[in-house]
């Protein structure tokens, strides 16, 4: 961490970062306020995309592409499939708002206030210079397969356990031999 330069003449990077942040927040608000379920899922794509953009600006290119692949590519598609394959209402529906709306808004605002205060307070004067290529796939790969190899392997075990669990809980059509 070095001394922070003045923010009065922001660099292009900083401006892009702020704009992407604004897009992410705005799209996130639309996710929870829109009255159409499919639109909510699509606004989620915008939110995740803007976040991926933020990561790119911060030179974390690998994380950015993973964000696009996993969140936009897999999770939102899963959500859309969930909407299509079930009898969820497609189109404008009036009963999407729950009665807990004010309480939920209050909790969300309070949580956001706490988090923003903590982060602003914690990093007020912190400034980390960005190094191009610091988050490249090569660097992350060598770190994962060198420093973090044991937790990495344990994670694959976790996935295997989760898979078996899903099979145990859901498949009734498996009839074993014998």
């Amino acid at each position: 961490m070095t001394d922070a330069p003045s923010y009065l003449s922001p660099t292009g990077q900083e401006i892009v970062f702020l704009l992407l942040g604004a897009v992410a927040v705005g799209a996130a608000l639309l996710v929870v306020t829109t009255r159409q379920l499919v639109h909510a899922a699509l606004w989620l794509v915008v939110t995740f995309g803007a976040l991926a953009g933020c990561y790119l600006v911060l030179t974390a290119e690998f994380v950015a592409w993973v964000q696009v692949l996993i969140y936009v590519g897999a999770i939102v598609v899963l959500l859309l499939f969930g909407i299509m394959l079930t009898r969820a209402p497609i189109g404008r529906s009036a009963d999407l708002d729950s009665g807990n709306r004010p309480a939920a808004a209050l909790v969300a605002l309070a949580t956001a206030a706490v988090l923003v205060t903590v982060v602003v307070d914690g990093f007020r004067t912190a400034y980390a210079p960005l190094r191009a290529g610091g988050g490249s796939a090569g660097e992350i790969g060598s770190s994962v397969f060198r420093n973090w190899v044991l937790p990495f392997e344990a994670l694959s075990v976790l996935l295997l356990a989760a898979l078996i669990g899903a099979i145990v809980l859901s498949r009734t059509d498996i009839r074993g031999r014998g």
Partner: protein, 516 residues
């Protein structure tokens, strides 16, 4: 960075207990895939037991070869004295619990069949068994080994998840009262996911302050002391929430009775003993190694939590009418007694004393718990286990031996002299007194007395009440179940009458403290 990665150094010999357990779990998955159904259980059982025994043997070998002085596996895991001791306890207790699991009456025939449906009837009639429990159990045990010995927060989180996920599943596989079991499983999963999220967020904030996730690095950064403390304090609190949830300390104890009651009793025995051991290993690492420099900040909070945990556990246990729920609250109270040891820090000698006390307590408590739950599996009604306390009335007249063994376990929980519980409590409270936490010990002794009240109440119920005419039957125990009860009773007696060897072992394991 021209496509070359230096190979990491992995201390395979030191890590072999963990690797054996994970390897056996993966072989277990292959057995599920390729072995015919009627053979599966007879392959799984010896494989699981052998794996746990083998892992235990390599743990002892590792300890005999002298302790390493630095972390293993590129700093992800610290195989030090306390870690090896904790591994040993976890592996023995898991071994004993597996003996208990070897009982078809406990697990559901087919988990995916809707309770009460014709699918379920057919599955029961065809004699299906969900033999996946064995590999899942091994996955959970492997996760515990990683969780309790992790040397950085990331590895610890991975261990936490590998431990928890199979347990969430195992909780929902009870054969009787399946809806209760599934409810327990979902509750455990949701609350556990919340606590994991807290842990992760705390990790992120602590990383924000210190710039590292390695426990040693965090400790060093605290010494350097720079930046905004808010991040660090909130991060510490959130890490604490995640870890204390796994222990079941007071404000976060709500899941324990429900989950212990709903889960198949063999799984409850496993959870009540090994998870507590593993979680205390992790708590000690985070609060002593990483946040040791911050003890002026976390100690007062921990005082409050320890007091609350002891009192809440002891008082709520009195109001319970279900034997498994009562044992769950008793486990909450015991977590509180153990927390008094976590608080008793000071100079190195004091830390070693407290650590050795905690290790001994964990060993003593784990065995007694598995034994008590093994007895619970044997007292049966038409619809499964007889959970309600009123059904236990007069058990001493119908089956004096079983009731006697159970009474003995209860006395050990209460900490009566000549049982293992006495020396465990004595050691922890003595460490707390020399650590200057006298008021805490007073609360501990008082809540021990309250706890003793309900243990004795059950004993009175069993021996001095008349048995109901249609009282529960005592299942003829399988070889496994009787072995579990015998082993647990033997351990409780030996640790209570002749605790010196284990105390010495715990002292030895604790003497070098955690490697940093």
């Amino acid at each position: 960075m021209n496509g070359t990665i230096q190979a990491p150094t992995i201390e395979y010999a030191l890590l072999s207990p963990m690797l054996i357990v994970f390897g056996a779990a993966i072989i277990g998955v292959l057995i599920e895939a390729f072995a015919p159904r009627y053979l599966r259980k007879s392959i799984h059982m010896p494989l699981t037991l052998l794996a746990l025994l083998g892992a235990f043997a390599t743990t002892i070998l590792g300890a005999a070869n002298g302790l390493p002085t630095s972390a293993s596996a590129m700093g992800a895991v610290a195989v030090d004295g306390p870690a090896l001791f904790v591994w040993g306890i976890i592996l023995i207790l898991a071994f004993v619990s597996v003996l208990l699991i070897n009982d078809d009456e406990q697990f559901v025939a087919q988990a995916a069949a809707v309770p009460g449906s014709s699918d379920e009837e057919e599955a029961v009639r065809s004699g299906y068994a969900q033999t996946e429990v064995y590999p899942l159990l091994l996955f959970a045990v492997g996760g515990m080994l990683l969780f309790s010995s992790a040397n950085d927060l990331l590895a610890m989180f991975v261990g936490l998840e590998v431990m928890s996920l199979p347990l969430y599943l195992l909780c929902g596989l009870a054969r009787r009262r399946r809806l209760l079991s599934q409810e327990a499983s979902v509750k455990y999963f949701l609350l556990g996911a919340f606590s994991s999220a807290f842990f992760l967020y705390g990790m992120a904030l602590v990383y924000g302050y210190t710039g590292t996730v390695s426990l040693r690095g965090i400790g060093d950064a605290l010494g350097a002391g720079s930046g905004q403390e808010t991040l660090l304090l909130i991060g510490t609190a959130m890490l604490g929430v995640g870890l204390l949830f796994k222990i079941g300390a007071a404000p976060f104890q709500a899941w324990k009775p429900d989950v212990y009651q709903g889960a198949p009793t063999a799984v409850t025995a496993l959870m009540a003993s090994t998870v507590l051991v593993a979680a205390f290993g992790a708590v000690l690492r985070v609060f002593w190694v990483a946040l040791g420099g911050l003890e002026w900040n976390w100690q007062p909070v921990m005082w409050g939590i320890a007091i609350l945990t002891m009192v809440v556990g002891a008082i709520l246990a009195i109001t319970q009418t279900d034997i498994k729920r009562m044992l769950a609250y008793s486990s909450v109270a015991h977590a509180g007694f153990l927390l008094t040891g976590v608080i008793a820090t000071g100079a190195a000698a004091q830390n070693a004393k407290a650590l050795s006390a905690i290790l001994f307590y964990l060993a003593a408590y784990g065995f007694t718990t598995v034994g008590a739950f093994a007895v619970v599996t044997m007292v049966r009604d038409a619809g499964g286990e007889a959970g309600h306390l009123s059904r236990w009335a007069g058990l001493g007249k119908r089956s004096p031996f079983l009731a006697g063994v159970f009474a003995f376990f209860l006395l050990a929980f209460a900490g009566i002299p000549l049982t293992s519980g006495f020396f465990g409590k004595y050691a922890v409270f003595a460490a707390a007194v020399s650590g200057g936490a006298v008021p805490l010990v007073v609360v501990g002794v008082v809540s021990s007395a309250i706890a003793a009240f309900f243990y004795v109440r059950v004993i009175v119920l069993m021996f001095f009440n008349d048995p109901a005419a249609d009282g529960p039957s005592i299942a003829v125990p399988t070889v496994g179940t009787s072995a579990v009860v015998a082993l647990a009773a033997a351990a409780t007696v030996v640790l209570g009458v002749f605790p010196q060897p284990v105390l010495d072992l715990a002292d030895q394991a604790a003497s070098a403290l955690f490697i940093r």
